[in-house]
Structures are given as C-alpha cells and as structure tokens.
Symmetry: C2
Subunit: 403 residues, 2 copies
C-alpha cells in the first residue's frame, strides 16, 4: 500500500467522457490498494470563459474578485469527478482549497503556497476514501480565496504530496512523459524513463512545457518523487527525482528550443569599470529579465556587450537603452528577434568532458552558425538563426542519441 | 445611516446588463450613506445547467457533491457583481458562505441555517465596503459545503439581516411587490404597501410565489423588516412586518389560488370513534400532508370524510387507503384533481365580522359552486372546480377591493 497524489490538467477533464477516463485511472490506483489524492484543474476552456464573462462587465477587475470567480472552475471539476467515482461505487470526497487548508501568501492571482494543514486529507484517507482536491487555489491570511497563477495545479499536487509524505506524485498531461527533444520537431525523439530535478528545471525554463518550474522546485525541496505521464495512454511516464540510477545515465537528458528570445547588442562601449552595471541597472529598473550575457574582450579601449531578453521585452529594452545612451555611452545598438536558443541539458555533463564539443560538432555538421554560447553545470545553450533551430536540434539529437 | 440587506434572485443577475442594473441599485443604496449587504443567487439557468452536467456523469449523484457543484453558481454571481461595482469605483468585497460563517445543519441539499458568525461582515462594513454574499449556501459541522434548498437565498438574506441587526431586508424579485391577487389572473389587482408576516405566510403557502415561507418565518421570529420589490422598476414595494399601520388596514390583504390540490372523499365510514384517526395515520405513515379536512355529520350510522392533498400525492394516497380499506372500513372512495383552492387572507378578519359571508356572496354572484370550506383566524379557503377558480378570484377581488 502506497500513498499516491495524482494531478489531472484541464484537458484531461474537459468533458464527460474524459472525466470518466480520469475516474477510471483514479479508481484503478485505489483498487490496487493505494491511498489516492487527486488534484484537478478547471475543465478545458472554463477559465477562458470566466475571463470573457468578467471582461464583459469590467475590463480591469480586481485580482481578488477574479480569484473568487476563477476558483469555481476547479470546484466544478472535483464535484463532477467525484460523481463519476460514486457511480463506480467507490467512496470519495471532494475538497476545495480552503477545506484542505491550503494557506498561501496574500497575493491574489499569483499566490504561493505557504503551508498545508494535512489533517482533513489524512482523516479522509484513514476512512479509505478517495480524496479529490481543487487545484490552483488556496486561502490567504485574510481568509480570502487566492489562485496560484501559472502551473498552480501542479504546485498544489506537489505541495499535498509533501504535506502527506506521499510515495509518489503523478502529473498526468497530454504527453506521455519527458522526451529527449520535442517529438513534433525531431524524429526519433525518445521518452526518458528518468530525469533529475535539476535537469527538469533546466528543460522547463527552456520551453519544454511539461512541468512548471515552481512545481519542480518544490518537488526538489521536499524530495517528492514525481512522475510525468499521459492521461490518454496507460503507459509508464518519466520519473523525476534527485538522482537517476547509473544504468539509465546518458550523457544528456534532453534538447530544448526556446523561440521566445531576442538579442540586443551594444557596440563601442568604453572599456572601463561600471559600464555593464549601467546597462543592466537600466534594464532591471524597467523589470526586464536578461538571460544570456556576452561581453567581448576590450580592444582599442572599446568593448561590445550583447544579451538576450524575452521577445515581449525587446522594444521596451531598446527604448530604455536608447534613453540611457548618454549615460551608458555606446556607438551603436543592434536588435533582432530572428533568433532562437537551443540547449542541451544533462546532469551527467558535470562528470563527462567533451559534451559541449560534441554539440558544436553537430552544429558544424548541420552548417548552423552560433551567435552566442552560454554554459552552466548541467546545460549548454547556443543562440542561432531561428530558421535553423529545428535543423540544429535534429543534428544534435542524432549526434547524442543515434551515434 | 441605516443598514440594509438586499437580495437579488437569479433572473436579476442573468446577464451582464442585468448585473449592471443590480450593481446600480446597490450603489445608489450605498451612496445614500447606508451600510449595504447584498445576497445574490446563481445566474439565470446556471443551476439547471449544473444539474444537466451532473446527470451526464451520474444520474444519481450524492447530495454532498451536488452541493459542491451547485454552490459555485452563487460564487460566480458575487464575483461578477463585485466587478461591476469596482467599475463604478466603489469599495466592495465578495464573500462565500463559509467566509461569512453561515453554519447549517448537516443535511446536504436542504440544510437549515443554525447560526451566522457576523464578524467578517461587520468588519467589512466598518471599512465602509459594500459586502456581497453568496446566497443559498453554508457549511455544516464537518466543514462541508451545504445548500439550503428552495427559497435558500431569501433565507440567507433574512438570516444575515437578523445577525447584523439590519434595519431593513429588501427582497428584489421580478414582481413589484405583494398584490391583492395574481395580476396575471385578475384585472385591477393592487400592490399592497404593507402586509403582516402572518398574512404573508398564508399567502405564500397558498401559492403566491413571491417569498418562500422559510424566509418569512425567520423574519417573523427575528423581527426583521422585509420589503418585497422589483429589480427592474425603481418603485417602493410591499413592506412585510409584525403589524401594519391602522390607516392601511383593509378587510383582507390578498386573494390566492392554489392549483396544486386534489380531493379525496371516503364515503360510508362507520360513525364511531377512531375512524378519522385510522384514515390519517395511514396517510401520515406514507408521509402525505393533508390540508383541508371535512367530516360530514353522521347519519344512518355512517359518515363521510373528505380532504385535500397535493396533486403529486394523490395516487399514493389512493393506494394507501385502498390497502387499508379493510382496517378503515369505507364503502366508496372518490378521487379528483380537477379542483383548485381559492383563499382570502387578512389579519383584519379577526376583528371584523362578515368577511366570509362577503366571499360567499361573491361566489354566488359568480355562480361558482363551493365543494369544501376551511377557515382559520386570518384565512378563508374554498375548494372549487379548477375551471372556475380564476372567475371566482375576479369576483372576490371586485367584491372586496372595488366595492
């Protein structure tokens, strides 16, 4: 007998048929003699419809009232899935965020979970009931309803798994697991059996949309065993844990592309202390996040600084820097969003040399020019022309996984 | 400065335009320097849609989970009306049943309010905020969500008015108030300025659908001043209170028709003690409520008993009595649902003689035959052929109000 937390997203409960399928998965887990807590998102387009309804009345409603409205979506889901399980003759109880005691920070619309009072869930599990929990929501210190923002239901599931010390937290999605590469882009992309939290974090921030970073960070912090798997196909998914078994260890775990990137280069800066500070302070004041930063070696008393930002921040960054041109002192600025970031991620990188050079070799084979390079302990990222990014991924994938 | 509780039903908040109108009424009351608590029902057909959605999954869901589902309807309404008030620049806060601390009995689907912890509402009113409360819902001793059943939102409003000792509880509906008679049936039906709780209770139980009995009973118990008025027309409605001012006192307050009635007559019963007891014990065991009861004077050692029941209970009553025929002992049973009950109600009846005879005179003028008569301190009811009921109402109305 194990205790298992399962999370099902909005597309998994979008209609009556899918609700029955989800109930079937939960029922099988329960009948296998496990304690089951299932965290559910709002059905399919419910949230969009709520946003549309609100906009009809007020195009700029308070986040507090928006949370009161949005949180009803998950409440509907838990009631409907409970009814499906009742129809199977199984004992079930649905609980909202406040009933579970999911205490969050005060921030409406994007609260963070502070603690979960696991008593109610524990007492329901003691009665051998299946427990359904409304994801994405909690209450703050004013006893007001809050929602958790993007990735909120995943985070609810992980937090509950931590609170009740569950053996496993399964995140059901519309993909079968974590792949070495986007299967829609790269043929022969393989599903990974295992991946570490750190690798998953890098992949998530690189645009692999399987799990939100917040949930992976929390899983890492509380050592919650995660599994990403499909609610449509009954197959084992990908396990996410602290370390993967040695036999499974490959050189890299995955390759990801991030198309939401723009590059800005400042040319002819004075080669003196404080220049980089002035550039990035100006951007920080405008709340612009900078990703890769590259500084050329000074020559003729000048240097160049280039960096990447999200595409949505490109124009703001351009005008901020243009406005600070006098203070910073640069001769020219070049701005483009025709770029993409391709990254390889692998915990094995640390103990294995030559990973980066294997990647560069693949790019050379593919005749893809690299405009920027950034490395961390478990990641190598390159900036390339966006039209060449998919080809780059395919060549890198072949080099590492088909070689 | 007064404190006013306002209740708006589902049709009053059915769409964005109506929500804006409701917000306008609330705003005007607030701007007139009153403390305002508004209790809201679920939008228009929301509840029916939830019931349909549930039935797709389970034709017989538990009442507990049905309550989890249904209670989201009112939560949506409070959020949307709050957004409309925010758009007007007014301070507003929406609260669900559990946030207000509406504690109910354990019965899912038809709980009764036990107590309200008025602290949260009081502290919000102290901040000069408009408070919106989700009607129809509360929580029971298990901290589970309950709904209050028919008339639930009216009851919520009256209970809150009692809890915060409000000066007035306004029930907004789609009619302009309480009428002397159904305006769709009787020309010249007049809106009453005032009516007593007792009269209102009689009228409600007689099929005048303006207010549910539960809410009027609670208003009477806690001496809450009620007003029934329209959310579509800005006019004073009808005040419901303990006693009406003498100048307003008319002989009767209203005339009502109840079409949901069937008559059963048992003929040739033995004229001996215990016969009536056997008849009505059999019906009580089958949980059938009996309304008017008439027993003929014994003759030739036999007597007849006739009584009325709701139409839905007619066939059950027939078979219960048929089954007990030997024990009760009757020669014949006659059953019909082609009848209707017409009643006049008035607190003034007690101190004024000849009211009943005026009613009978009107029925004589209308050539309507009376098959049963029942009287109470403030009511006279007659059973007539259902095809003649509307004509009977018109003649009675003319006799009392146009004479």
């Amino acid at each position: 007998m194990a205790s298992i937390v399962q999370k099902f997203g909005g597309s998994s409960v979008a209609d009556a048929d899918r609700i029955r399928r989800v109930a079937g998965i939960i029922a099988d887990t329960y009948i296998d003699n496990n304690d089951v807590v299932a965290v559910l998102s709002a059905q399919g387009d419910t949230t969009d419809e709520f946003i549309r309804k609100a906009a009809e009345i007020n195009e700029n409603p308070s986040k507090r009232e928006m949370d009161v409205l949005l949180s009803t979506g998950e409440q509907m889901s838990i009631a409907l899935v409970a009814m499906a399980l009742e129809k199977m003759g199984l004992p079930v109880v649905s609980l909202t965020g406040w009933q579970v005691g999911i205490r969050t920070t005060a921030d409406y619309g994007g609260a963070r979970i502070k603690r979960i009072d696991g008593d109610r869930i524990a007492s329901e599990l003691d009665k051998r009931r299946i427990v359904l929990v409304a994801g994405f929501q909690g209450i703050n210190k004013y006893d007001d309803i809050t929602t958790l923002g993007r990735g909120g239901s995943d985070t609810t599931a992980v937090a509950i798994a931590a609170a009740i010390d569950a053996d496993l937290c399964q995140i059901f999605t519309d993909v079968e697991g974590v792949y070495t590469c986007d299967p829609r882009k790269v043929k022969n992309a393989r599903k990974l059996e295992e991946i570490t939290y750190d690798e998953m974090l890098e992949l998530a921030s690189l645009g692999a949309q399987v799990l939100h970073n917040r949930s992976v960070e929390m899983a890492k912090r509380y050592a919650v065993n995660l599994e990403v798997l499909s609610s449509f196909v009954r197959k084992p998914g990908t396990k996410v844990r602290e370390a993967v078994s040695a036999v499974e260890q490959t050189k890299i775990s995955g390759i990801a592309k991030d198309g939401d990137v723009a590059r800005i280069a400042l040319l002819g800066l004075r080669d003196e202390p404080g220049v980089a500070f002035k550039v990035f302070r100006a951007l920080a004041k405008a709340k612009i996040n900078v990703d890769i930063i590259l500084q050329s070696i000074g020559r003729d008393n000048t240097k160049d600084i280039s960096f990447t930002v999200a595409r949505g921040d490109m124009e703001t960054a351009r005008s901020v820097l243009e406005g600070a041109r006098g203070a910073i002192g640069f001769s020219d600025m070049s701005v483009t969003d025709k770029v993409a970031k391709v990254s390889i991620v692998g915990a094995g990188m640390m103990s294995s040399s030559g990973i980066a050079s294997l990647m560069f070799e693949a790019l050379y084979d593919a005749k893809v020019n690299i405009s920027m390079i950034s490395t961390s302990e478990i990641k190598v990222s390159v900036l390339v022309d966006e039209r060449e990014a998919d080809r780059a991924m395919q060549y890198i994938h072949d080099k590492f996984f088909e070689g």
